[in-house]
């Protein structure tokens, strides 16, 4: 109704301070709902993608891996690292009972490369036995990864001619992977032949990090899938007892450490979000009710000149709707400004996998956040409007008359 809108706009204009305060409140509500939900969702998605990436039941690494930067720091935080063990351990692990599949991986760290401003982790896998990397790669690349071929994470910039050079080794980029929100986004994947060639070239170039390592005779880790009928813990224990110098860890315990940290963080953020939410709704409600009380006399006047109860409700609701729509739009906008530019910072700061949901979900949350604060304004105005309209006009008129 035009009259309600006109009156609402005039009221807002004539009381700019009050209007601004209410808009800020509504903005705050929308902001906290949007940003809070976004962070929680991103953390959860990050963890999910990490779990599917890791995908093994047991991870076996040499003892030295514990000091040289552990596997999850390589995979999760993208900190390049390397450690090696004799290939014979791989053979021993493979023959342990209860091991259905075992596949070796080979890690090579690269301090700097032409392609990248950040250190890069190179991960080699054995195409014949690999059950982790290839299924994932197959989502973006259907061919085989031949000698000299590499597949790169989403954060690596690929030149137009698809050629990258690592340690004097020319590589052909055959595919780029989807974003995972983990350190894997800066990783490069190659088959065993390619990565071992890279190490030999690095040694020829005089990199002392790899002194005394015979590339053909070592691997970095062994990823294990446990056969049906065996428990993961027992198989891991078996390996630890029978194969010396290495440490086998159930992958779940690695992830659950992260998962715990993650659910702590997202739990805290979730609780904070809800608290801010309740607080903002309560304040908004008190504010609208106070305003309505302050104006009972004006509403009585409207009744005197022929406004129905419904009309009063509509006038009050129009005003609160205008305020909360404007506020919510500002709040959601501010939420976007905070969430998107700082995604990278969030990831490194939290040290946790952090992956924004797809655009459709983001838009949904955005709309939801706006809808929630508009609804809060609407509800509170409804309460105060009911209160005003419920009183007998003749009684209100007498107040301070």
């Amino acid at each position: 109704m035009r009259f309600a809108k006109e009156l609402a706009l005039r009221n807002m204009k004539r009381k700019p301070m009050r209007t601004a305060a209410l808009i800020i409140l509504a903005a705050f509500l929308a902001f906290s709902v949007f940003a809070g939900t976004m962070i929680v969702m991103s953390l959860q998605r990050g963890l999910e993608s990490y779990q599917t990436r890791l995908g093994a039941d047991i991870v076996a690494v040499p003892f030295e891996a514990r000091t040289k930067g552990s596997l999850d720091s390589i995979l999760l935080q993208g900190i390049p690292g390397y450690f090696y063990m004799d290939s014979q351990y791989y053979e021993k692990i493979k023959n342990t009972s209860g091991v259905e599949v075992a596949t070796p991986q080979f890690y090579l760290a690269l301090a700097s490369a032409g392609c990248c401003s950040i250190p890069v982790q190179i991960i080699g896998f054995e195409p014949e036995t690999d059950f982790l990397i290839q299924p994932w790669i197959s989502q973006s690349y259907s061919g085989t990864v031949g000698d000299g071929d590499v597949i790169v994470g989403s954060d690596i910039s690929v030149p137009l001619n698809h050629q990258l050079r690592f340690y004097d080794t020319d590589c052909n980029v055959v595919a780029q992977l989807d974003r995972t929100g983990t350190g894997l986004d800066t990783a490069v994947y190659a088959n065993m032949n390619t990565i071992k060639q890279m190490m030999k070239n690095a040694q020829a170039l005089g990199f002392h990090n790899f002194d005394g390592i015979n590339a053909d005779k070592v691997v970095s880790s062994v990823m294990i899938k446990v056969a049906e009928g065996y428990t993961i813990e027992n198989v891991a224990n078996d390996i630890n007892i029978h194969v010396r110098h290495i440490e086998a860890t159930p992958a779940k315990s690695m992830i659950s450490g992260i998962g715990e940290g993650l659910s702590n963080v997202s739990g805290i953020i979730g609780i904070l979000t809800v608290m801010i939410w309740i607080l903002a709704i309560v304040i908004l409600m008190i504010a609208f009710v106070m305003i309505a009380n302050e104006r009972t006399k004006e509403f009585a006047v409207l009744r005197v000149v022929g406004a129905s109860r419904k009309m009063l409700v509509r006038i009050l609701r129009t005003e609160s709707a205008l305020i909360s729509v404007i506020g919510a739009a500002i709040g959601a906008g501010a939420g976007c400004l905070m969430i998107f530019p700082f995604t990278g910072a969030m990831r490194t700061r939290l040290g946790l996998p952090y992956l924004l949901p797809p655009a459709g979900v983001i838009i949904g949350v955005l709309i939801g956040a706006i809808a929630i604060s508009v609804f809060a304004g609407w509800m509170t105005s409804y309460i105060s409007a009911r209160k005003i309209a419920g009183n007998e006009t003749g009684l209100i008129l007498r107040e301070d008359a």
């Binding site: 035009r2 009259f3 009156l7 004539r14 005197v304 406004a307 109860r309």
Partner: protein
């Protein structure tokens, strides 16, 4: 249009005096016809405003009925009664009653605009000129004196050319000259066929009225 009150009473509960039930208006019959200007005087607190508000459909009587041409106004739905009041009843309430965020002219136009009637600007200006505050039309209520505000609410009550006009001490804050001009306006409104109920302390008002009642502790007498 004829306004008829049948055996209406109104009681209030007074919290301050041990929850006593207090009869502000005792059982009264009353009739108001088009073309008449009826005056009610009486001491402060005698129940005049209570009585007027009941007749105007703003305060439900504790018992009894009020009819306008055979329609019981308190039997109507709120929406219906509101629109009825908007079209047929002008009310000048006691006290200050401007909407702070609207100008004087806009305040006068509220009754029309509220139901989407946009064509009354010219008439509103004429009414404001008539009550002597034409040059204040773009001012806001907080910039007006008590008497000017009272005249604004008179113009607002007349904008829809009502069939019944309720005026609760419309000359309360006015000087002699303005009092006379308002009384003349009310008389003229009655002469044009409107039924006018005037609650006032003004001695002079009797000269303009067709009937004068007196309210005494909730009892209405001639």
């Amino acid at each position: 249009m004829i306004l008829k009150a049948e055996k209406i009473t109104r009681q209030y509960i007074r919290q301050s005096r041990n929850k006593n039930v207090f009869m502000a208006v005792k059982e009264t019959d009353f009739t108001l016809e088009g073309g008449q200007l009826v005056e009610i005087t009486g001491r402060s607190g005698s129940g005049k405003s209570t009585f007027l508000n009941m007749l105007a459909g703003l305060l439900a009587p504790s018992s009894g009925h009020i009819f306008v041409d055979d329609t019981d106004i308190y039997a109507m739905e709120d929406k219906e009664r509101s629109r009825f009041r908007n079209l047929n009843m002008g009310v000048i309430p006691q006290g200050q009653t401007g909407l702070q965020s609207l100008t004087v002219l806009e305040n006068v136009l509220i009754p029309c605009k509220m139901y989407g009637d946009e064509g009354k600007e010219e008439y509103a200006r004429k009414l404001l000129d008539y009550v002597g505050i034409g040059e204040l039309k773009n001012a806001y209520p907080n910039e007006l004196s008590g008497g000017e505000l009272r005249r604004m609410s008179i113009a607002r009550a007349l904008i829809q050319s009502p069939k019944i006009l309720f005026a609760d001490e419309p000359t309360g804050d006015l000087d002699d000259e303005n009092t006379r001009s308002v009384l003349r306006l009310l008389r003229k409104t009655a002469d044009n066929g409107c039924a006018v109920l005037l609650v006032t302390h003004e001695r002079e008002a009797a000269e303009y009225a067709d009937k004068v009642y007196r309210m005494n502790d909730g009892v209405l007498t001639m």
